[in-house]
Amino acid sequence: MEKEKKSWFSRLKEGLGKTNNWFSNLFNKDGINDAFYEELEEAMILADMGMETSERLLDALRAQVKADKLTERADARNALAKLIADTVRVDTAFAADEGPAVILIVGVNGVGKTTTIGKIANEYASAGRKPMIAAADTFRAAAAEQLGEWAARANVPMVRHQEGADPAAVVFDAIASYRAKGCDLLLVDTAGRLHNKKNLMNELNKIRRMIARELPDTPCEVLLVLDATTGQNAVAQAEAFLEVCELTGVILTKLDGTAKGGVTVQISDTLHVPVRFIGVGEGIDDLRRFDADEFAAALLNLEA
């Protein structure tokens, strides 16, 4: 199963291959005209960027093409990449990089929360930090076993209860253990929940409040894990989780497929929730920091 190691950028580009073809086909024809914009819009929609955001970006591009008197499609492409990058650019520090912190991982079912926790634990443990994992997905069959496997691989301690236990109780115990062991990063895995299930969202809200109560001086990053194949529903997801548990960021997973994750542009644009990490494979080190310029460049098939 050992795959050839490639730079994440080329992997991302490969993953974004379909979009690349689209865009490169577009940009090779001459002249910036209505047809060009129309095709651009189609391509952006195919990348899951959504109508509203695509239109806003295209309006901005039109204005810039006019102001800068651009005539080449390649120049327009660069300008669009810059516009996309500016939309998704992260300008705040990530709390876990600054010192002791809690990272609460949330999301709908099957997006890759557990795998992502394993990767994050590994990254911070490798950097000399002392993470502690709380297995608060007590609902899905064998979720704690799966996470336990990742914890063992990353050599990070984990607190778990029986299946069906109260997830807030797991977090409570994990916090006690986190203090006792002198850890400096608490990673909380939660059960996948559809954002329109009120009771499950309340449960999450309870966990978030409990963390705030028990560790009032420790910053808490609440990260929504989004599957890159997800379409416009991701916006509804982000909205719902933002409301219930003060979302602070997004992790975009499964970018090694052909899906583009363009919907995150929309989330950054409308909700101002930044993407922090991207997942590019199933290996423990297949987690990358999100880079706005590289993301936009890869999306439009430009060299970084």
Binding site: G110, A141, A236, E282
Partner: protein, 446 residues
């Protein structure tokens, strides 16, 4: 939310279309632009949308507007019909083929919900087809995937065959032998999630297929999938010709355009839809319901149709009279409730009202409370139902006991009934003055 604008946008376009006997090219074109946006917002693949719009437009231009419909409704009717027919036929049953045991191979991307779906299918096979299935664990890559299937199997009370992390082809072959030995007639094979562009993993899937010759090869698709759904479905269908598709996570608030995309590129029927976290939450797929969900503007036509069928006209007239003369009794209350039940569940009805479809998720319709209300009323004597005022403490105690509820429940119902009766009196008064009938529908809070 971006979605919410769609139905009002559509309605705006359609307002301009009123009072014309035949749909002109221009009308249809404007309407189709909005339909196109609606479909894109629902994540239907762009190329599928383009194709669909072309077809629907051709059919709509020049169509006569039915007498009972506005031109806008006519366009919706045509679009809805086209969508439904594109979605395929309703009763896509499972095919077990001639071989014993029959093999059902589950495939899909990571996180689509394959393992859970295996358990759901097993239960369905037991209950509806009278089969005795065996689950086979072929996901040797994801940590604890085998454990997960074992837990799912024990919840579904179905045996699980696993052989650690050896070659899944071998495990699957052994599972078929095991099934023969233990007289199981269906083997459901859970496979690892795989990317459609991962050639090694797609080869593995083909090898499992070749070894088992499954009766059904199902692609499990997350209903929230975006534009990429076409690439995934196409790749899987080319690698191991699929026999059908299963949609998962349809209990979310996604409009589920992926269903249409997948259907359009594979031509394979969508057989089932997963609609909840419990293992019993599996439903046959309804193309017509999906069509109106994707369109995202509710199906007002169906609502009207259903309402007309279910609501007995004579009873309605009687009710109206009773409302006016203030002789509305608990019996009428019960009647009204039963009629509403005939129209479908509250949730279904709410979903059919334009603009409500996105919001239903937040309203937790308490059908249990309706059941309690019914039990309380049925525990009353006819005399009590006709004259609720005679309900004293001892009668209420008896009713509570008889209906398995508490006195508080009975009191609450009576308070509600009184309040509703008062409200109704006011409303009917106002209603008839203004000549508006619409509002008086169902004034009760259940």
């Amino acid at each position: 939310m971006a979605f919410e604008g769609i139905s009002s946008k559509l309605q705006n376009v359609f307002k301009k279309l009123t009072g014309k006997g035949r749909l002109s090219e221009r009308d249809v074109h404007d309407a189709m632009r909005e339909i196109k946006l609606a479909l894109l917002e629902a994540d239907v693949n762009f190329l599928v949308v383009k194709d669909f719009i072309k077809r629907a437009e051709a059919r709509a231009v020049g169509a006569d507007v039915l007498e009972s419909l506005t031109p806008g409704q006519m366009v919706i009717k045509i679009v809805n019909e086209e969508l439904t027919s594109l979605m395929g036929s309703t009763n896509a049953k499972l095919d077990f083929g001639p071989k014993k045991p029959a093999v059902i191979l589950m495939s899909g991307l990571q996180g689509a919900g394959k393992t859970t779906m295996c358990g759901k299918l097993a239960i369905l096979l037991k209950k509806q087809y009278g089969k005795s299935p065996l689950l086979c664990a072929c996901d040797i890559y994801r940590p604890a995937a085998i454990d997960q299937l074992k837990v799912v199997g024990s919840k579904a009370e179905v045996p699980v065959y696993e052989h650690g992390t050896q070659d899944p082809v071998k495990t699957a072959t052994e599972a078929v032998e095991e099934a023969k030995r233990t007289f199981k007639d269906v083997v459901i094979v859970d496979t690892a999630g795989r990317l459609h562009i991962d050639t090694d993993m797609m080869d593995e899937l083909k090898r499992i297929r070749d070894a088992l010759e499954p009766a059904e090869i199902l692609l499990v698709v997350d209903a929230m999938t975006g534009q990429d759904a076409v690439n995934v479905a196409k790749a899987f269908n080319e690698a191991v010709p699929l026999t059908g598709v299963v949609l998962t996570k349809l209990d979310g608030d996604t409009r589920g355009g992926a269903a249409l995309s997948v259907r359009a590129v594979t031509g394979k029927p969508i057989k089932f839809a997963g609609t909840g976290e419990k293992l019993s939450d599996l439903e046959p797929f309804h193309p017509d319901r999906m069509a109106s969900r994707i369109l995202g503007m509710g199906d007002m036509l169906t609502l009207i149709e259903k309402a007309e069928q279910a609501f007995d006209q004579k009873k309605a007239a009687e009710l109206e009279k009773k409302m006016r003369t203030d002789t509305f009794t608990l019996d009428d209350f019960l009647d009204q409730m039963e009629q509403m039940k005939d129209m479908g569940s509250m949730e279904d009805i709410l979903k059919m009202i334009p603009g409500m479809s996105g919001k239903v998720g937040n309203i937790q319709v308490d059908e249990k409370a309706m059941g309690r209300t019914k039990a309380i009323i049925q525990a009353m004597t006819p005399k009590e139902r006709a004259n609720p005022d005679i309900l004293n403490a001892s009668r209420r105690k008896r009713i509570a006991r008889g209906s398995g509820t508490t006195i508080q429940d009975v009191n609450r119902l009576m308070n509600q009934f009184d309040a509703s009766r008062k409200m109704m009196k006011q409303m009917t008064g106002g209603m008839f003055k203004k000549g508006k009938k619409k509002k008086g529908g169902f004034p009760f809070k259940f």
